[in-house]
Structure formats: C-alpha cells, structure tokens
C-alpha cells in the first residue's frame, strides 16, 4: 500500500513537471507546426533567470515570501524577451518551410542559446533552494513530501485548465482554433495570423521559462539542463499526439507514472522506460494518442 501511494505521488509530481515543460512545446506545434527544439533552452533560461534573481533578492535581505513573486516575474519577463527575439528576429523569416527544416532551424537556435546562456551566467551552478525549503514538508502515510512539489501539482493543473479555458472559452482562443484548422482560410476571414503566431510563440516561450523557473529551486541550475529536458518533453508530446493540450496531459501522466513505477520497482530501467513507453504507444497509434487525422495528398 505504502509503495503504491509512493509510486502514485512521485508519478504525479513528475507528471506535473513534465506537463509544465510539454505544454509550451505542444502549443507552439499545434498552432505554428514548428517542433521547437529551442524550447529546452527557454526552460534553461527560465531556470537561470529565476535562480539568479532569487539569489539577488534574498541577498538583499527582503522578506523571503517575495521570492515566489520574483520567480514568477523572472519567468514571464525572460520568456517574453526571448520569445519575441526568436520569433520576430528569426523564425518569421522561415515560415512556410518544411517541418523537418524547421526542426533544424530550431536546433540551430538551441545551439546558439546554449552558449548565450553560458556567456550570460557563466558555467558555475546556481542554487536557489530557499523557495523550496520555505514551504516545509508534509507527512503522508509515513512518507515525507516537500510542499513545494505538491504545490507543483496544483500549479500544473491550473495551467492546464487555463490553457483549455483560453482555447475553448474565449474569443481569442476560438480565433486561434480557426488558425490551427486552416491558416489560409483564417487569414481570408480577416484574422491577423502573423500576430497570432507571435502571441502564441511568446506564450509558449513563457510556459517554457515558467517551467524552468519553477524547477530551479529544486535542482542545481547548470549548463546542459535544457538539452536533457527537451528530449523528455518530445517523448511526452509525441505520446499524447503533437499539438494537443489534452494529449500533453495524458502523455505526462503516462510517462510520469511509468517512470515512478520503474524507479520504485526496477531502477535500472528508469531512462529506458520513458522511451520504451513512447515506442509502444507509437507502434499502435502512429500519430500519438490524441492527434487529429490528416489527409494524404495524391
């Protein structure tokens, strides 16, 4: 019983973390048809911005609870800047190219951003554990969990709800759905597709930096974290079906629970199981679980 609860809790925590990262990736793909490899760098930038700003803030002797606001502010601010820079400065010149070419373009952006991060923050690790420890820990059937991790589950769930609500229950969301279904027709109907793209990309980038900033207190922020994370996020969104928010949620839950089951039962298979699950899902559902069917052209 204890083992099952431990597996479920760890799985949920990991899944909520995965969803935070995957949400931005799948949103950008759904609207723009760009599988954004640089999303890993957005995550890393968010983590660095969060960790370093929280460090500054706390070194100044301000009230420690404000650190959460600093994290949030760092994520939004860095996300908007990097999103605008990448989309306006580079990607908009590439629209209309093949999806595979776009992967390579974003791969190049990833390489460039990796070094930008090193230039901006150096190669030493950053620690900002205070927001993590400040919330204390909770005992659950004899197991101790950091409240910060539990809060992560709720944050992730609310972001999922916000995205769903924004896409399905607001005017802008409906317009965006028109763009997703048919870009050209949407443009004919007078929707400003270019602006939709920019806004979507910035929202996706902010989701990426937000995921990074939220993760920063729990890890040591060092070079290479973005490269590790992007490949996990890919597995999650491919399982769920590219471009679907519900798919990202399902994918995150499947991967999260599978990984925690493996960590508790057979730790050797930890990395294997994530991609193993992905391979099994793709073998039976080639487009992922929730993908929209596309017509073949003759």
């Amino acid at each position: 019983m204890k083992l099952v609860i431990a597996m479920l809790m760890d799985g949920m925590i990991y899944a909520s973390w995965l969803f935070l990262i995957a949400a931005g990736l799948t949103l950008i793909y759904g609207v723009m048809r760009i599988l954004n490899m640089a999303h890993g760098s957005f995550y890393a930038i968010g983590a660095y911005a969060g960790a370093s700003l929280v460090g500054f803030y706390l070194a100044g002797g301000y009230p420690p609870w404000g650190a959460y606001l600093v994290l949030l502010g760092a994520a939004i601010f860095s996300g908007i800047i990097i999103g605008l820079l990448v989309e306006r400065g580079l990607l908009r010149f590439m629209y209309g190219r093949d999806e595979v070419v776009m992967i390579l373009v974003t791969y190049a952006i990833l390489l460039i951003l990796e070094d930008v991060i090193k230039l901006a923050w150096g190669v030493d690790a950053y620690f900002a554990y205070q927001p993590y420890t400040l919330l204390g820990r909770t005992k659950l059937v004899g197991l101790s969990y950091a409240n910060y991790d539990i809060a992560l589950i709720f944050i992730s769930a609310s972001i999922c709800f916000l995205l769903w609500w924004g896409l399905n229950r607001t005017r802008q969301g409906k317009l965006l759905q028109a763009v997703i279904h048919d870009r050209d027709t949407a443009a004919f109907l007078g929707i400003n597709v270019t602006r939709m793209f920019t806004v979507t990309f910035v929202i996706g980038a902010v989701l990426g930096t937000f995921a990074g900033a939220l993760t920063a207190p729990g890890i040591s922020v060092m070079p290479g974290i973005g490269i590790e994370v992007i490949i996990l996020a890919f597995a999650v969104v491919v399982i769920g079906g590219l471009g679907s928010i519900g798919g990202a949620l399902t994918g995150a839950l499947i991967v999260g629970l599978a990984r925690s089951a493996s960590v508790h039962l057979y730790p050797e298979a930890e990395l294997f199981v994530i991609y193993g699950v992905m391979a099994v899902v793709l073998a039976f559902r080639p487009q992922g679980l929730f993908a929209i069917a596309t017509a073949r052209k003759i």
């Binding site: 070419v101 390489l111 491919v238 990395l271 193993g276 793709l282 003759i298």
Partner: protein
C-alpha cells in the same frame, strides 16, 4: 570502370599517401571525420527519400560498443573481424526496428528513430558492466596479425577509414543511379504515385534503412578503433543531431557531400573550440542557420556550380 570511380580511387590513394606525412593530430581528426562521413552517407540515402533520422546515433553507438565488447569477451582484436561484427549486429537490429519505422514519415520518423537511440543510451548509462556514463577503453586492434604499436596505430585506423569511405562512397554513388536509388527521390516527391507505379515504397525504405544502419555501424566501429574509448554519449540525441547537421552542411545532392561536410564540420568544430571554447556551439548554430538560408543544397552545390561554370 567509370572515370569518377577511377578519380575517387586515385584520391583515396593520395589520401593514404598523405597520411604518411601528416601530423598526428590531423590524422586523428580526419579519421574521426571520415568515420562520421560514413554515418552521414547512410543518412543521405534516407534523406533522399525525404526521411530525416534523428537517431543514427543508435547504430553509431552500437557499432562502437560491438567493437569494444567483442574485443573484451571474444578475445579477438582483428580489426576487420570486429568491423564486420559491428555491421552484422547493426543490420540485425535495424532489420527488426526497420519493420516498425518504415511506416512513419516526416517528424514522426525523426522522433521515433530518436526514441530508439535514447533507449540504447538509457540502457548503457545504467549498465555498470560497460562503465556506465564513463564508457570503457577499447583494446588496440590488430590487422592480419600485424600489431601496429604506438606510432602507427592511428595510421591503421586512418587507412581503414579511407578504404571504407572509398568503398562505401563508390557503392552509394552507383546506388543513387540505380532504379532503387531513384525510387527514393520519387518517394520524397509523391509516395502514392510511386505505389501506383507498382513499386513497394515500404520495401525501398526498408532497404535504405538497413543500408544506413550498416554504414552507421561501420562508422561507429572505426571511431571506436581510432579513439580507443567509447561512451554512451555516442547514442545521445545530440550526436544524431550532429549527423543531420553534417548532412545538411555537405549537401545530399552527391555522394561526396557527406564526406566533404564531415571534414569541414570537424575542422570548424576544432577551430571554433580552440578560438573560443565558450561560444563554439554558437558558431556552429550560426553556420547551420546560414546554410539553411543561403546554401539549402549544402557546400557541395558550390562545387557543382563551379564545375558547371568551367564546363560552360
């Protein structure tokens, strides 16, 4: 024999002769570049059919580990035997995975092949018997009982790499001119029409996938023999990304593209790393963007443009 083949063999002999007078670091660098060129030659076959594999690192790594493991457990250091073993193992694995992968196109092919290479990475990282993330050292190889100790050991790997690239290069060059080779481009343009013409698309892609795996395994085996050390990083997705990078840089229009591309890539990386260790990735990324924007057919298209101008 065709003139191009004779020219290529002459170039290979010249490269071998040059190896005798080259400084050690250059020999080593060229060996690694040629080994990568082999992997990219295989990738070229797939890319011609419109399939970009982000997982050639799987076979690159498997080939290298075959050499390392066989050297340890089978008590054989015969370089040719080890290379053959690596190729056989890679083709065997590809024969299974390929059945599944042949059903996928576009980014799904890319992502799925990447997943398989990450599975191998995950297994190797957790296997302490093979040194986990540190990898392990490969025993120095022999060639027909000849033990090229010390100074001439890198020379042997270089020789093997040149011979392998020449052989595979001639094969690819001829293959691309065969009906099977042209079928690849037809598939890229319109798959359904190819099916209507009575060609089995899946079979064509399957064979290309097997060939690409064999070449990647060979490249990995040569890397293991030359470097003398292997680690799971060879199966990590960034390694596979590098191969795609090289293929784009060299261009997929000609069999010489990948070889040229990998030599340029290795030079670019070495010098970029020497000049500014903190920004070498930035230099690579910028180069990649520049190639996508201004040279979508790779460096080889420049060569073609020049030869056309001379001919005209």
């Amino acid at each position: 024999m065709k003139i191009a083949t004779i020219l290529l063999i002459a170039a290979a002999i010249a490269a071998l002769a040059a190896g005798l007078v080259m400084p050690g670091w250059l020999t080593f660098m060229l060996t690694l570049a040629l080994a990568k060129g082999l992997v990219v030659l295989g990738l070229l076959l797939l890319m011609r059919a419109g399939l970009v594999s982000f997982g050639q690192g799987l076979y690159y790594c498997l080939g290298a580990y075959c050499v390392g493991i066989a050297g340890d457990y089978l008590q054989t250091q015969n370089a040719l035997l080890l290379m053959l073993l690596a190729v056989v193992a890679c083709v065997a694995l590809a024969a299974i995975i390929g059945l599944l992968l042949c059903r996928y196109r576009d980014i799904f092919f890319a992502m799925f092949s990447m997943a398989f290479s990450m599975i191998l990475y995950g297994i190797l990282v957790k296997s302490t018997a093979f040194g986990s993330t540190d990898g392990f050292n490969v025993k120095p190889p022999l060639l027909f009982g000849w033990t090229p100790g010390g100074e001439s050991s890198p020379m042997m790997a270089y020789g093997l790499a040149v011979v392998a690239v020449t052989g595979v290069g001639i094969f690819v060059w001829n293959y691309l001119r065969s009906p099977m080779g042209y079928a690849g481009e037809a598939i890229r343009e319109n798959e359904i029409r190819v099916e209507y013409l009575g060609v089995s698309v899946r079979k064509v892609i399957y064979i290309k996938y097997l060939l690409a795996a064999a070449m990647a395994g060979l490249g990995g085996a040569i890397t293991a023999l030359a470097a003398g050390h292997i680690d799971p990083e060879m199966a990590y997705w960034t390694t596979s990304g590098e191969f795609v990078f090289i293929a784009l840089m060299g261009g997929t229009g000609h069999a010489a593209g990948p070889v040229l591309g990998s030599i340029i890539f290795e030079l670019l990386r070495t010098y970029a790393f020497q000049i500014s260790p903190y920004t070498w990735q930035m230099i690579l990324g910028t180069a990649l963007l520049a190639i996508i924007l201004y040279l979508p057919k790779g460096v080889w298209s420049l060569v073609e443009r020049i030869t056309k101008r001379i001919a005209a």
